[in-house]
Amino acid sequence: MNSLFTEEQLLLQAAAREFAEKELQPRAARIDQEAVFPEEAMKMLAELEMTGIPYPQEYGGGGADMISYALILEELAKQCEATALTLSSHTMAAAPILTFGAKEQITRFVPALNSLRKIGAFALTEAGAGSDAGGIVTSAVLDGDDYVINGTKIFITNGDKCDIVLLFARTDPASKGNKGLSAFIVEKKVSDFEVGKHEDKMGIRGSHTTELIFRNCRVPKENLLGKPGEGLKIALTTLVGGRIAIAAQAVGVAQACLDESINYAKERHQFGRPLASNQAIQWMIADMAKDVAAARLLTHHAAKLFDLGEPCGTQASIAKLFASEAAMNHAIKAVQIHGGYGYVRGTKVERLFRDVKVMEIFEGTSEVHRMIISGSLIK
């Protein structure tokens, strides 16, 4: 495996693994049980210079490649998906600013995000706009030097903790669907908005998911990102990297399911022998190993294309689709292998099962990804 990675990538993987085993593993259960935002872990990740991993060092980023980012996220997700998701959602806020922002916007916002002086969030989803971004009704109306925002975003990760939100709103009142949307960099300090409902979720409970309510919220016009009407393009471009990040996390969760299953199968004895001596269990483990290996390679392939600057939207969808479905299947098998213990709080696979389901839903549902993949082939 070593010739597939550079020395630096392997050293970063080792550093992330050591950090995750030492600092995330002891905290993960409590983070889930009490739905605690992983604040300490995020601070430690900032000290390790891992809160802006794929961005240029010129702007305080890590200057690492997407494959390194994927390797790191996998290690974090293995121990605590809530921390990994908090990190990747935060990281996502800087991407569109770097790609579409004016120099002044980049220098104003990106270093602060990369150092974790400010926490980021990405606000696209609304009650009427899940898979269909065209259903966005949050409006942004130019009034003098400000845009006035009205609307409610839902299911926003880091919603209650974020200082900077990448917000997508409709600037052209006459438009419908995907056209007429624009992107804004909203600073809470300058343009106050309300944090609404905190979702009480099935899983990844340490990651905070909330409503954001904008009532005549004034955002300076300098905070418009890119041109009016470019909103959807900006969102979709950003989501490509976001999907690779989610795929990497799904690989981590799948690997954790496999590792837990192997350990349990060796220790648990029934009928005078370990579970692992039964072929049925051996085959479940073999299938899990096969699928997580495939998921990892698909994720790294998409990451490699991303690093080369080549179009990788379809690959990102393939990776995310495959990895999230594999992880779900792994979690089902893992709980099954653990028997009754797999169903009770306190057993790691019980948490993994609850964590993993949403991976087939967010960052594009599996259905949306099937649309993207077939759409790229059948023209």
Partner: protein, 259 residues
Amino acid sequence: MPNVIVCYKWVLDEQDISVNENTLELNLSRAKSKISDYDRNAIEAGARLVERFGGKLTALSYGTSDVKSSLKDTLSRGPEAVYWIGDATATKADAYVTANVLAAAIKQIGSFDIVICAEGSADQYSQQVGPRLAALLGAAAVTFANQLDWADGQLVAHRKLENSIEVLRTDAPVVASVLPEINEARIPALKQVLAAGKKPMTELKISDLQLDAAKLQPKNKVDKIKGAVFNRKNIIFKESNAAENVSKLLDCLKKESVV
């Protein structure tokens, strides 16, 4: 502002070494290599000294050509440069040979204030190289250190002995060997990992070190290395009923008069 050299060893991970049950021979073929665990603490000790008091930290290692794989790992942990000797003599080298090579290398590298070693390596734990280096380099020796400070051009060290802590001050040059408890080694930060490859990595050849052949041969001959045998009774109770297991165990322990 001390000029510090830290010595480390690239060792086989003992977790990957297996012992043949019948012949007791060691199988090293699947063993991956790592920076000796206790050397991570030594490197960390050097890094902290230089971060607190200024100065320079250089790393040095003697091993087989495999040691090349350790260079970026080491450089991501604080040192600003690394010197390395990769030579076949390392395969059979003991503390005598290692100290001879490292001392010669340090003389080539130039003057220093402090040389830091771990108290022992993860594979041999001889606890010799540090004090040997002190003698060979004509430097003061400080062993079993669990705290190092620099004040007014002197090293101030705490030595953890059996029943006391000896607090010493010494002029440079000094060779300090440190206990693993001296600190918790850092996890390398991301930019340190990426920057490692740009730091100077200098190879020193054994032939350039001007050592007699006799200095490169261990004085004691290793006759054999065999897996450690425990010679224990291995009476293990595995009934599905825990109470049965407990009762059988207690019977045995009572017979042995230990309960």
